[in-house]
Amino acid sequence: MSSLSVLYDFWHQRIKVIWPYILAKIIQSLNKENKKGLRTWLNPTGFGISRVSWLLMRISGIYLLVFFVVHVIHAMSILDRMTWGKLLFLTYSPAGFIVLSIMIALAAFHAINGIRLMLNQGGIGIGKPARADYPYQIQSMGKKNRLCIYVTMGVSALALYFALGVFFNF
């Protein structure tokens, strides 16, 4: 028996025991009252456009981080010409082009929205503090800020269109 299969058996035995426990824990956490976990995290409704931008910021961040890690690991293949060729073949596939195009669009959104958030945190564009009178208006989510989010989404959609155009030559 090779050392690799011994290693595989070792981990397989453990994962077989652990995964039902992990699944039970996830189900338990989803059922707890006021602790809905990912279900609430992924639901952008009911809080306006700022909640949508918050969710998109997180999704784009995770996508970009996964892309970056895979890209760094993929770059190691440059040390061998054959491996580089094989992996380049994957990059030139339609799926590869779509992954790259989405990356460009999400990077555009993440960058522009990130700059907006930085300015907001510096006190720029969040309005002046005012007494909370009925009908309540959220000072920090004024027209300019909301417009900024819509423009950011528009720019990232344009970036997606441009990237798809470059990769697929339409």
Binding site: G37, W41, R58, G61, I62, L64, L65, F68, V69, V72, I73, A75, M76, I78, L79, R81, W84, G85, L88, T91, Y92, I104, A107, A111, G114, I115, M118, Q121, V166, F167
Partner: protein, 125 residues
């Protein structure tokens, strides 16, 4: 005085936020440069040919640019992931695991990428 997460270095959360923003600004500029180089050398396909990529790695300025991108994006990305995990749940043990996990992942990606840059720099075509 509240010492923030990343308590392995005892850095305050407010300082971590400044690091997060400065790495973001640095990464935006450098990644834009990195992507534009891929399209500036004729076609995207030609820029990814084996010879072209090796010559990129052997150009000291470009190698430094790649190393900087590697460090900035790793620090920014894994600090962002740490923020997401800490938003999701709390607890001393959990926070400590998340801090150390993100720190070690970022460090290993930086080491891995640096090894690639150094080894690719020594390849003879």
């Amino acid at each position: 005085m509240h010492w923030g997460c990343f308590s392995i270095f005892r850095i305050r959360e407010s300082h971590i936020r400044k690091i997060h923003y400065s790495t973001a600004l640095g990464a935006i500029g450098l990644v834009a440069l990195h992507i534009s180089v891929r399209f500036a050398t004729g076609s995207f396909a030609a820029s990814l040919s084996y010879e072209n990529v090796i010559s990129n790695y052997q150009n000291l300025t470009y190698a430094l640019l790649l190393e900087l991108i590697l460090i900035l994006v790793s620090v920014h990305g894994f600090n962002g992931l740490r923020g997401i995990f800490l938003d999701y749940r709390s607890g001393y043990k959990y926070e400590k695991t998340v801090n150390w996990g993100c720190f070690l992942f970022a460090l290993s990606i930086i080491i891995y990428g640096t090894i690639t840059i150094i080894l690719a720099n020594q390849i003879k075509i």
